[in-house]
Symmetry: C2
Subunit: 236 residues, 2 copies
Amino acid sequence: MRQPLHERIRSDFEARILSGELAPGDRIPIEQDLMQHYGCARMTVNKALSALLSAGLIDRRKRAGTFVARPRMHSMVLDVPDLPSQIRERGQVYAYFPIGHRLRPPAPSRDDEMRLAGGGDLFELEGLHLADDIPLALEYRLISVLAVPDIGDATDIEAISPGSWLLKHVPWTEAETRISALEATAEEARLLRIPQRSACLCVERRTWRGSDRITYVRQVFVGNSYDLVARFGATR
Amino acid sequence: MRQPLHERIRSDFEARILSGELAPGDRIPIEQDLMQHYGCARMTVNKALSALLSAGLIDRRKRAGTFVARPRMHSMVLDVPDLPSQIRERGQVYAYFPIGHRLRPPAPSRDDEMRLAGGGDLFELEGLHLADDIPLALEYRLISVLAVPDIGDATDIEAISPGSWLLKHVPWTEAETRISALEATAEEARLLRIPQRSACLCVERRTWRGSDRITYVRQVFVGNSYDLVARFGATR
DNA sequence: TCGCGATTAATGTATAGACAAATCTACCAT
DNA sequence: ATGGTAGATTTGTCTATACATTAATCGCGA
């Protein structure tokens, strides 16, 4: 059996749905008919249809039947590899240039900092990401010391890049990313070696591990030398 | 049975993996032990573990066993609702202002246009997305007439918004989105009623249906009044 | 006609068992 | 030591069956 039967059934319908032969709202035969058609047990058909269901390609209602789902277009998979590997993939040399770091308490007036710190202190750092020695992005990062206690004896955190270091030590389970455009401030422009008020892509990210906040990061990319690419397959 | 057993088993391990209690590489008990532990049949355990497998949380190898997967940090789910609904969600009034449209052959010198057209003509259109009558984004779009034949008798395409219209008529199966920052040209600045060279967020998207190209769209957003938000959770 | 309860058709969950496929382990012959 | 082969273990697939759950529908009575 080079291809499992349930997989064949699944891909049959996937193909018919994606090609448009089966349009949204169309009825899909009931499991009884499908087991007749494929000459197999109901559990096999069920496994195939369950996969299509969790892929969001079909809707199923008891008593009513199975239908091709209406496409919900509102989510796609964004490919956000970490910066070093992304730069290396483009055949460039990656380097991180640390500007500074310090341990400090959160500012009582900043709600977000207080929540991130969660009663502990914050590790604040700033640095430049370089591709072939040319500044690509400016990174400002806050790390909750409570969530990442070994940050104190981390001498290597700025040797690679803070993002990569964190991911290796404290994988996150949830993240929120905000992407916007802004004009570089004088300071940002100086560090990135671009004209003042140049258009930059700003990526802000907050990450959690379970219910604990881990880090906040803000990366300002040189506008014309970076873009994010997202690819989409079928829903979800 | 308000919660199916296989779902309970699945979420048990999901929680233990996401909390870090089970670290990448850790062994998960074999199905025999799990059916003992939960007092159920092997198929039930198998269903739970299959779900975790397809969610990418575990790896399974015959004879070797089941292990917590190493997190692949390089992709997250980007929420890209279509513009009208996104604007309405913010409590603003959405409107589309058409600037112009025409039917034309693809430019022979433009490879991308030729591939998009696929031997037919292109429907080109331009318009403004307004939130509370304030320009939010400028949209330039090319549609393959071959892929969307009913575009000729589409009188309503500019009544709502081209994106929404297309999605209703020709659901896509694949898309690629590119996000970058740029400075508004004089023309863009005039239409968006912002100063020249203001920072803007540029979203370009190509969509396919199967192997046929459907449309190319380029949206230029006013930098400070829009941002994309991507959320990543576990599972999917 | 309008509700309301019973029927029933569909999916959802679970069982127990069988065999296939992969691959790790141990042993055996060279 | 080396290489190959024969188990043994674990997952992968599939069957046949049973009962639970949901909701569309039908029939009945007001």
